[in-house]
Structures are given as structure tokens and as C-alpha cells.
């Protein structure tokens, strides 16, 4: 059920360069959401822009959720400046959620702050004591906030080689797959469009099941504006949310789609 809840800011910390994690007390949303879902945030009561800011949830525990974001515009600047105890208007939980992560061996891939919904799944898998591989890609070491620890299945990559593996997320993905049966493996990914499209095409070429969480501009987040579409590869069964079968709504049919289901991650 979609809720409109006023959350309370618990804390904000800078976890990497210009990258922040904010914890919000939201008893209702935090206890009713599943990893992969997102919330739509009103950055401030007098928000003059027309759209809320959709954000994936990076953790949910004890009535508290967290979001991870880079300060890039007015909305994220306001979020960074939230004071402890501030009230924040949230709509959520929104969208579908990760599934099939206990049926197959999960490889989790996140790119930059796009790793948020992947981290929520990572925490959940560790809570369930399910073995997994976590890969995070970034441009350089300043954007990373997880230790590069291949022995524990945590691989960090950088475009400039300043931390972990020099290259993109496909390098550790290929490494991790060396000892795995493709049929019994499933990839879960979220990050910038170029990274996701590379992972999408790789997964299709290898015949590995792969779910991708897409990100795009949204006006509402709950299906009334019809603004956040992705084109399906083949015409699906008519989706109730987009009214038809050529496009899916990222907010309601997604944000998570199977790699084979969509035409491209470039929206």
C-alpha cells in the first residue's frame, strides 16, 4: 500500500566525496517496504519545483530507512542540509522489488550512488545468511565507501585504477562467474545507464538471468502522470499501469525490469 508519511531526519553523514547518506525515521514505510522499492521525497515543505525527488532506499531497519545521494542540484542540496529532527514528506513504498535472490546465487552490481537499492538487498541477503558477490563501480577512489575485499566477495572497481580493480564492473563480474554455473546465477544491478546497458547486454549474451533497477525523471511516482516510461523489447501483456503494452511505467511496472524485457537502459 502506498503511504504518505512524514518522516523525521535522524542523521546525515558524508560517506564519500560529495556523497551523503541520510537516515529517516519512518515507522510505516520502513516496515512495509521490500528491498528494491523507492520513495518519492518532497525536499522541503515549500518546494517550488514541480516534482518530488525519487530515491531508492539503501537500508531499512528498526523503523529507519536511509537514502544515498550525490549533491547535484537544488533538491539534493536541501536534503544534505536537513537538520536532525526535521520533518520530511515521503510517498512510498513505491514500485516493485527484487526477487529470486534465494533461488539462484546472487551477484549484486551497483554503480556510484545507484548502488543504494543494491545495498538494501545486500544487507537483506547477509541478514538471511545467503552467500553473494557484491560489485561496486565508480570513476575513482573518492566515490567509494565500501572496502575492496575479494576474499569476502566484495569487488570495487574504478575507471582510473585509483582503487580496487582498474576497469568497469564487467571485469569482476567475469571473475566471479569463473567458478559459477550460469544457470544457477542471477545478476541484480543498478547504476548509470551506460553501466546497466553493458551489464544488460553481457547478461543476455551469456544467458544469465539479470534484473535491473532503472532510474528516470518522475513527476508523481504512483502512475498518474504517465511520464516515466521504458519501451519493452516485445509487446508484453497489457500492463494496467501504462494502460497498454508497448511501454512500461518505471514507477509502477518497475523500477526493476528483466534484462530481456526492455529495449535499452538508455531512456
Amino acid at each position: 500500500m502506498i503511504l504518505n508519511e512524514h518522516a523525521i531526519v535522524e542523521s546525515t553523514e558524508e560517506i564519500a566525496f560529495n556523497t551523503f547518506q541520510t537516515f529517516l525515521k519512518s515507522p510505516k514505510i520502513s516496515t512495509s517496504m521490500k528491498p528494491g522499492q523507492f520513495i518519492n521525497i518532497l525536499p522541503t515543505k515549500n518546494w517550488g519545483e514541480m516534482m518530488r525527488r525519487p530515491m531508492s532506499v539503501a537500508s531499512q531497519k528498526d523503523g529507519i530507512i536511509s537514502i544515498i545521494y550525490k549533491v547535484v542540484g537544488q533538491g539534493t542540496q536541501l536534503m544534505k542540509d536537513w537538520a536532525v529532527g526535521d520533518t520530511v514528506d515521503l510517498i512510498g513504498p513505491l514500485g516493485n522489488y527484487w526477487d529470486g535472490y534465494t533461488d539462484k546465487f546472487p551477484i549484486l552490481i551497483g554503480g556510484g550512488v545507484g548502488i543504494a537499492p543494491i545495498l538494501n538487498l545486500y544487507n537483506h541477503l547477509n541478514h538471511l545468511d545467503e552467500d553473494n558477490v557484491l560489485i561496486m563501480g565508480a570513476r575513482n577512489s573518492s566515490e567509494h565507501f565500501i572496502n575492496h575485499n575479494p576474499e569476502n566477495g566484495n569487488y570495487m572497481t574504478t575507471d582510473d585504477g585509483s582503487l580496487g580493480i582498474h576497469g568497469n564492473v564487467l571485469e569482476p563480474l567475469k571473475l566471479a562467474l569463473e567458478n559459477l554455473n550460469f544457470e544457477n546465477t542471477k545478476i541484480f544491478a543498478c547504476g548509470p545507464p551506460a553501466m546497466m546497458e553493458a551489464v544488460r547486454q553481457f547478461s543476455i549474451s551469456k544467458g544469465i538471468e539479470c534484473d535491473l533497477a532503472l532510474e528516470t525523471l518522475m513527476a508523481c511516482g504512483f502512475g498518474i502522470c504517465q511520464g516515466c516510461t521504458v519501451e519493452f523489447e516485445k509487446k508484453q501483456v497489457t500492463t494496467e499501469h501504462s494502460y497498454r503494452n508497448r511501454f512500461g511505467l518505471i514507477c509502477m511496472d518497475g523500477p526493476i525490469f528483466e534484462s530481456k524485457e526492455i529495449k535499452s537502459c538508455h531512456l
Partner: protein
């Protein structure tokens, strides 16, 4: 209080939600008691289903947004089957927005709806969608065609018949007169303004169809000017819309000549805004000893 009689219909609040900004009324049900809204104008329905336009369909602009959804909808047959039963259960007034390409499209769609057993109180006719070639815009820019389409539809319904006017015309007064002469019960004004945006990094248009419809507070002064012009030109009631975001805006629209108003773009940010503004309007009436907000219709004075 702020209830308003419109035609022979009593609206519990003069604040409705605009077509295309509130789906089919069920989407917000877990957050908002939609029965507290004066009325819901449902998303444009066409004779046959429409996929809508490819992405990107929306862009944020200063105090507004561009959209080019392309009239994505289930088509009138499916609308009757899957949307009307839910709408029939609501205690708010339902107005069905109809879009079309040719006179026959509008007529057939309306005829199907007339026999579908809906509790809706009327139809809003979209002759002003700027985002699809066949969005009825050819009607909306011609007073003659507006009049003949209105007259044709008038033959088939005794429910409220409201023509939705475009601001993308030389003289909105002439189009409004065409609607009035054709037998419309009311006009609603305004639909979105044609706009465009460019991403300077990619040098691509922000909207897939190049042009989109601009809405939000950015267009409020344009809406007010058009409503005032229409108010001066016709005797039939007016539903005002275009960037309303607060109770002061509602009052301004009524002073300019509107009988009812619709909230559009702001629903996305605050799905319960129509109800909140309804309460604020009640308070305004109380504090100003108004028996009805309608008493303020068209009272704006020129200098």
C-alpha cells in the same frame, strides 16, 4: 461555504482535479479520500486504445513542467469495463474527458459512454491536446469546427458538455463563442501551452516529440488572462485551470470569471492538494462572511 451549483449539478467543492493529472481516481486511494475532492476529470479516453509517445515524455522547467504523454489510454470499451465500475462507487463528481481525431471518434466514444451505466455528471471534450497530431487540435483552433463538434455531441447527451479550450490560438473568445453557440454547458480553460526544452549536454530535445505542453504555476498568468477574456465573451460557466497551487490562486481564478477550478500539475507533488485547498477556501469564505465563493465570480475590477 464553498459548494457550487453548476448547471443542475451541485459540486461539494469548486475544486476539481484536471484530466491527465489524476488517472482514473483509484491511484491515490491509499493516501487520499478522493471523495473530498469537488470532482475528478478522468484521463482523456479515445475511441481506440493508444500507446502514447516514446520517452522522454516529461521535463521539469522553471515553475512548471513539459509533458508529451500522447493520450496514452485504455480506449473507451476497456474504460467502460474496468474504470467506470470503480468511478461509480465514488461520492465525488466524475467528468469524463474525451479526445478524438474526427467528429465520428468523439461521437462514438460519447455514445458508448452514454449507454455504459456510468454515474458521471458530464463530459469534458479535449479539442486542445498539443502533443499528438491527431489530438483534436484542428478543432480547438477553429471556432466553426468547435461549434459544429459541440452541436453534434449535444445531440447525444443531456449531461454536462464542457469544451476544453486551448491557449494556443489567436482569439480564445471566438472559440469559446463557438462552443457556446454549439450548445455547450460550459468551457474549461486552459489546456497546456506549447513549449520546448533542450539538454545542453547532449544537445537533444528534452521531450521526444520536440514540443510538449507547458503546465504549472509558470502558466498561471496566461490562464488568468484567457479566462478573463472568455468571461467577457460568453455567458456559459467557466472552469478555470492552469498552474493553480494555493488557495489565493483559486480565489484569483474565480475573481477573473471562473465558476469552478481544476488543479493539474500540483497533484503530482501533493495528491491531496485539492482537498486541502477546499478546506482553506471554506475558511476564507467564513472569514470573509461569504455565503458562497461563487459570489466572487468575475468581480475583478479593471483600473
Amino acid at each position: 461555504m464553498s459548494s457550487v451549483k453548476f448547471g443542475n449539478i451541485n459540486f461539494s467543492s469548486p475544486i476539481l482535479v484536471a484530466s491527465g493529472t489524476y488517472g482514473y481516481g483509484h491511484e491515490t486511494a491509499s493516501m487520499v479520500d478522493v471523495n473530498g475532492i469537488g470532482g475528478i476529470v478522468t484521463k482523456s479516453v479515445t475511441r481506440h486504445p493508444r500507446e502514447g509517445n516514446p520517452p522522454p515524455r516529461i521535463a521539469e522547467t522553471t515553475s512548471g513542467m513539459l509533458n508529451s504523454i500522447g493520450l496514452a489510454n485504455v480506449g473507451v470499451n476497456e474504460y467502460c469495463k474496468s474504470k467506470l465500475p470503480y468511478l461509480n462507487k465514488l461520492n465525488t463528481k466524475i467528468i469524463i474527458n474525451i479526445a478524438g481525431t474526427a467528429v465520428e471518434d468523439y461521437v462514438e466514444t460519447l455514445q458508448i459512454l452514454e449507454t455504459a451505466g456510468g454515474n458521471h455528471v458530464g463530459y469534458e471534450i479535449n479539442i486542445s491536446c498539443p502533443n499528438v497530431k491527431e489530438g483534436g487540435m484542428s478543432f480547438g483552433v477553429s471556432a466553426k469546427m468547435t461549434e459544429s463538434l459541440t452541436a453534434e455531441l449535444r445531440k447525444y447527451t443531456s449531461k454536462l458538455l464542457i469544451m476544453k479550450l486551448s491557449p494556443n490560438v489567436t482569439s480564445i473568445e471566438e472559440i469559446a463563442l463557438g462552443a457556446e453557440n454549439g450548445g455547450a454547458d460550459a468551457v474549461s480553460a486552459i489546456n497546456t501551452l506549447v513549449g520546448m526544452g533542450i539538454d545542453i549536454k547532449t544537445r537533444k530535445m528534452k521531450i521526444n516529440t520536440t514540443f510538449g505542453g507547458l503546465s504549472g504555476p509558470a502558466i498561471k498568468p496566461v490562464a488568468l488572462a484567457n479566462i478573463y477574456k472568455v468571461f467577457k465573451a460568453v455567458r456559459i460557466p467557466i472552469i478555470g485551470l492552469g498552474g493553480i497551487s494555493c488557495v489565493e490562486d483559486v480565489i484569483e481564478f474565480i475573481l477573473a470569471g471562473a465558476d469552478l477550478v481544476q488543479i493539474g500539475t500540483l497533484n503530482y507533488k501533493e495528491p491531496g492538494i485539492a482537498i486541502r485547498l477546499g478546506h482553506e477556501l471554506d475558511n476564507y469564505c467564513k472569514n470573509n462572511n461569504l455565503s458562497s465563493i461563487h459570489d466572487l465570480k468575475g468581480l475583478a475590477e479593471p483600473h
